[in-house]
């Protein structure tokens, strides 16, 4: 870390090598788009390189990295929503602009083959629940983080994470029920 703070290039390349999959996997779980996740991963490491001197070691490095990744991923989502709204307005005024809908179903590359279909439904349902519940659920299920670690990343209490997880599961159940009821008709 000291070498990195002194601007050592090889220390930076080691860091990227060590943490890239963690950053990418977290980002792809949130934005559900490989290209966006790749962009976010690049931005995260750029920010790490630029602001490593501000990392005082008060929390674990992984916690700091998760925080940057999550904030970038949520920013990216907001940007995309803004773009969609703008494209919608453009279409109202007869301008074709960018294409509105990206309805391709997301497939996470790390999900087991036999679970891919169910996972697609779960990813769809995840888009419908509040951000903090989605973050807690994704960190726990896709990144294998414990509730305690999630509490540290989200800067909250263990009790709050437990509550977030139970609300996330209840909301996801509701969304999935709706999805499968419509699909089984």
């Amino acid at each position: 870390m000291e070498q990195l703070q002194q601007g050592n290039e090889s220390a930076f390349s080691k860091l990227v090598d060590e943490w890239q999959d963690m950053v990418y996997n977290t980002a792809i779980g949130i934005v559900q788009n490989p290209q966006d996740a790749d962009d976010i991963t690049q931005e995260v490491f750029m920010q790490v390189y630029q602001s490593i001197s501000s990392f005082k070691g008060e929390s674990k490095f992984s916690t700091w990295l998760y925080r940057i990744t999550l904030s970038k991923a949520l920013d990216q989502e907001k940007k995309k929503k803004r773009k969609k709204r703008f494209a919608f307005v453009q279409q109202l005024f007869g301008n074709q602009g960018e294409e509105l809908v990206q309805s391709i179903e997301f497939e996470h590359p790390g999900i087991l083959m036999e679970k891919k279909e169910s996972a697609q439904a779960l990813f769809k349902a995840l888009k419908q629940i509040p951000d903090n519940q989605r973050i807690a659920f994704t960190l726990h299920k896709l990144e294998g983080q414990s509730y305690l670690e999630i509490a540290e990343i989200m800067n909250t209490s263990l009790y709050a994470v437990e509550s977030l997880m139970s609300r996330a599961k209840a909301n996801l159940k509701k969304q999935l029920n709706k999805y499968y009821s419509n699909n089984n008709q």
């Binding site: 390349s13 990227v16 090598d17 890239q20 999959d21 963690m22 990418y24 996997n25 792809i28 490989p34 996740a37 790749d38 991963t41 690049q42 490491f45 750029m46 390189y49 996470h108 590359p109 790390g110 999900i111 087991l112 679970k115 169910s118 996972a119 439904a121 779960l122 349902a125 299920k141 896709l142 990144e143 599961k169 996801l172 159940k173 999935l176 029920n177 499968y180 009821s181 089984n184």
Partner: protein, 117 residues
């Protein structure tokens, strides 16, 4: 009776699908980035350092900067319109007084001309 059983079966089926979906992330492996991430990061860093204009553009594109700019433009326009309205009221008053004077003058001239034998 048969319909009730069918309905229960459907509900059970949905419940099973929901539970399967909720457990579908179990055993998942981490997704990996495409190759040469470090090279792409370095290229992007070099690009960003070069383009001052991009940085300025990004600054202007920030929502609060954009909103402030818009507010200033609209505010200036509103002020100009209010000022113009005031000025317009004065000039209308002037316009009214001038024809009166003119008409007086014309009338006087007309009277004067009519007085001629």
């Amino acid at each position: 009776m048969t319909q009730k059983i069918k309905g229960m079966n459907k509900k059970e089926n949905i419940n099973q699908q929901v539970n399967e979906a909720l457990d579908s992330f179990d055993g998942a492996q981490r997704a990996s980035t495409s190759a040469y991430l470090l090279t792409r990061i370095r290229a992007r860093m070099a690009n960003e350092q070069n383009s001052v204009w991009e940085q300025a553009g990004r600054f202007i594109a920030r929502p609060w900067v954009f909103a402030l700019g818009l507010f200033l433009i609209i505010g200036t326009n509103v002020l100009l319109i209010i000022n113009n309205n005031n000025a317009a009221t004065t000039s209308v008053a002037e316009q009214i007084s001038t024809p009166d004077e003119l008409s007086n003058t014309v009338a006087t001239l007309y009277d004067f001309e009519n007085n001629e034998p």
